[in-house]
Amino acid sequence: MDFGFNQEEEAFRQEVREFIQKEYPPELRRQPRVTFAPSIHGLDDEDWKLMRTLSRKLGAKSWLSLGWPEKYGGQNSPFLQNIVYEEVLYNNCPGINHMGVTFLAPTLIQFGSEEQAKRHLPGIAKGEVYWCELLSEPDSGSDLASIKTQATEDGDYYIINGQKTWNSGAHLAEWGFILARTDPSLPRHRGLSYFLIDMKTPGITINPILDMLEEYEFCEVFFDEVRVPKEDLIGGKNRGWYVTMATLDFERVAHMYYPSVRGYLDRLIEYVKRSPQPLSPVLRNRLAELVAECEMARWLHYRAIWMMSKGNIPTYEVAIDKLYNSELAQRVAEFGTQVLGHYGGLLSGSKHAFLYGWPSYYYLDTVSYTIMAGTSEIDRNVIAQRGLGLPTE
């Protein structure tokens, strides 16, 4: 057993910290930025520019591809990659397009051809191409295998017709990955295929949806006779379900909230220390409990990363990781508004808002955490069935 980081890892963490201090200085932190993806405020141009700038800077450092195999320019080190995510999240620093960097890239490495990987990975590694995920549909959320969007073969192309929804950052993305039905005659899991798609292709209509934070974070996307070249089919025709399951597993690992939770708790602790009134014994106990839970979330995440670093593919472990981290974030957000009382209800930009309105923003934003990337209910099904072998019927 070894629960420590080695010297190289510690030194790297320091380097990342210094980078973030320099590139994301305090004057840029005067608004809440805690969305997991796309980590920007909808269509606000300044935020988008900052996201793109930081993304390219992280890419220039080769810090978006540390977990990849060496032949694709990585260092084969999921733990080093994780250090970048931890430091970025702790400071709520934008710059990581998780849909590209953490969902798609490992999927491409696992299922894509050499040629496909070489075509798309460099843009992700450099932080230049922004990706979105196109899975859910209006009538297909948790029951993803019921999707209706069709992809029909036509010469060197597939023609896509249908609708996707809840697609984070689709209004900003240059590329997307999409699951569509290629053979309606086959059992529903077996007639699906996974494509990469240029979001500028004619026939795509994107409507941003206003969410309850009053931001444009996710979208609905319509496909009308959209032509996708066959070279962008990943993993083979009718093999899309397996590719998607891998993407969802990588996605679950990416929902690591403990660094942002810890960052938020640390700021609350600073506030409590400065406050003339001591924290009530009840809230003090609760705070200690959340500090402990944050540690548990961290180790549950490291377990999944460790398995990946050994070349093992985690299954139920990533569902535990995501489930625990997302529910913890909600508990912490709820706790923060309790500690702050009336101040916890003030929005960003208001007079007297604590931490630029972060608590109210976090309280609302974390509601989505247990829905996206598979709901907590689906996570629990996965844990019970894949982790414990409980029967499906």
Binding site: G4, A288, W299, L300, Y302, I320, D379, Q385, P391, E393
Partner: protein, 377 residues
């Protein structure tokens, strides 16, 4: 970073699980809960022969020279098996204290016997105030000639009734700071004036009230330095807390396995109950807690094994494991239904231990307070 066990630890785990499943069946566990002694001497000697008492005793004293990482592997298995008897008091509370505080002569005298399973030890720490802090130590010792005279009451002392020696934490000096002025003594349980009363406990574990009525202890029985006993206890208790957590993790794992097995077999409405989401989600929550506790406990143990500061990590391990083992044991009964509430079912063994072990070595509030202090709140 590496979360795997060594090959030796894997072997220890397999051997311990096999041995305990044969030699420590649950009817024996239930029998021992009612037995006054609380353990079968034959089993104790078999464990000694297997080298378990000496697992963490250095080789020069006849042990195997293992670390706390080896110890927690074994204790997990003991927790799974609900092993009755004084292993924890003798090896963890007693052995670690002697290792930490004993002088060369004391170690050479006691540790080889301990490793052979020939003597039983325990730690007489808590008193009627039931505190794990220095101010809880009110039992007094006064020096008269070359002997100490000890007077006071120790309460909730594990396995005192069968121990050969009690390691007793005693106030030897009145000071400003309650952690100062405490000294440890090795007390022969047969000393005139030692009165021991066995308490009746929920989990059937053996706890005693021990009254020291002006007993005489030779100067040479002092363990460690005069008035500096708390420094030793602090170190021993950190390890003991992690060791206790390992037992709880073992118990939690066993409850989950038994419950999942039952949920696969038991049919209701024409389907195994394990196919219902209500049951699956309970089981999923149990697995999250089992895995999470196992990781935080192993982290705390690893830090201790490396000599790294671990105050907060140890408190986190106990605070989390306390609550989660209880929750797991309760869900285990819930999923079994009424059969899980019966005296001769195995579920209640774990449910009762979850409570007993939560109280033992600091309950949740005690450890949350430590976490808050470490975070400077």
């Amino acid at each position: 970073m590496d979360f795997s066990l060594t090959e030796e630890q894997e072997i220890l785990r397999t051997v311990a699980r096999d041995f305990l499943s044969t030699e420590c069946p649950k009817n024996l566990v239930r029998e021992m809960a009612k037995d006054e002694k609380g353990y079968p001497p034959r089993l104790w000697h078999q464990m000694a022969e297997a080298g378990w008492m000496g697992l963490i005793i250095p080789k020069e004293y006849g042990g195997a020279g293992g670390s706390i990482l080896d110890l927690i592997v074994l204790l997990e298995e003991m927790g799974r098996a609900c092993l009755p008897g004084p292993f924890f008091s003798t090896v963890v509370l007693g052995g670690l204290t002697v290792l930490e505080a004993g002088n060369e002569e004391q170690k050479a005298e006691l540790l080889p016997q301990l490793a052979e399973g020939e003597i039983l030890l325990t730690l007489a720490l808590t008193e009627p105030s039931a505190k794990y802090t220095g101010d809880g130590i009110q039992t007094k010792a006064t020096l008269r000639d070359k002997e100490f005279i000890i007077e006071g009451t120790k309460l909730f002392v594990p396995d005192a009734h069968t121990s050969d020696y009690l390691i007793c934490a005693v106030r030897t000096k009145a000071t400003q700071s309650p952690e100062d002025g405490i000294t440890l003594f090795l007390v022969d349980n047969k000393s005139p004036g030692v009165g021991c009363t066995l308490l009746k406990t929920m989990a059937g574990d053996k706890q005693c009230e021990v009254i020291f009525d002006n007993i005489t202890v030779p100067f040479g029985n002092m363990l460690g330095n005069l008035n500096e006993g708390w420094l030793i206890l602090d170190k021993v208790l950190e390890k003991a807390v992690v060791a206790k957590c390992a037992q709880m993790v073992g118990g939690a794992k066993q409850v989950l396995e038994m419950t999942v097995e039952y949920a696969k077999q038991r049919v209701a409405f024409g389907h195994p109950i394990g196919s219902f989401q209500a049951i699956q989600h309970h089981c999923a929550n149990m697995l999250v807690d089992v895995d999470g506790c196992s990781l935080v406990v192993n982290n705390a143990a690893w830090r201790l094994s490396q000599g790294l500061p671990a105050t907060q990590e140890v408190a986190i391990a106990k605070a989390l494991t306390n609550e989660r083992f209880k929750r797991i044991a309760a869900l285990g009964i819930q999923i079994h239904g009424a059969i899980g509430f019966t005296q001769d079912h195995d579920m209640p063994l774990y449910f009762k231990r979850a409570k007993a072990w939560e109280i033992n070595l600091g309950n949740t509030n005690f450890h949350l307070d430590k976490i808050a202090k470490a975070a400077q709140i």
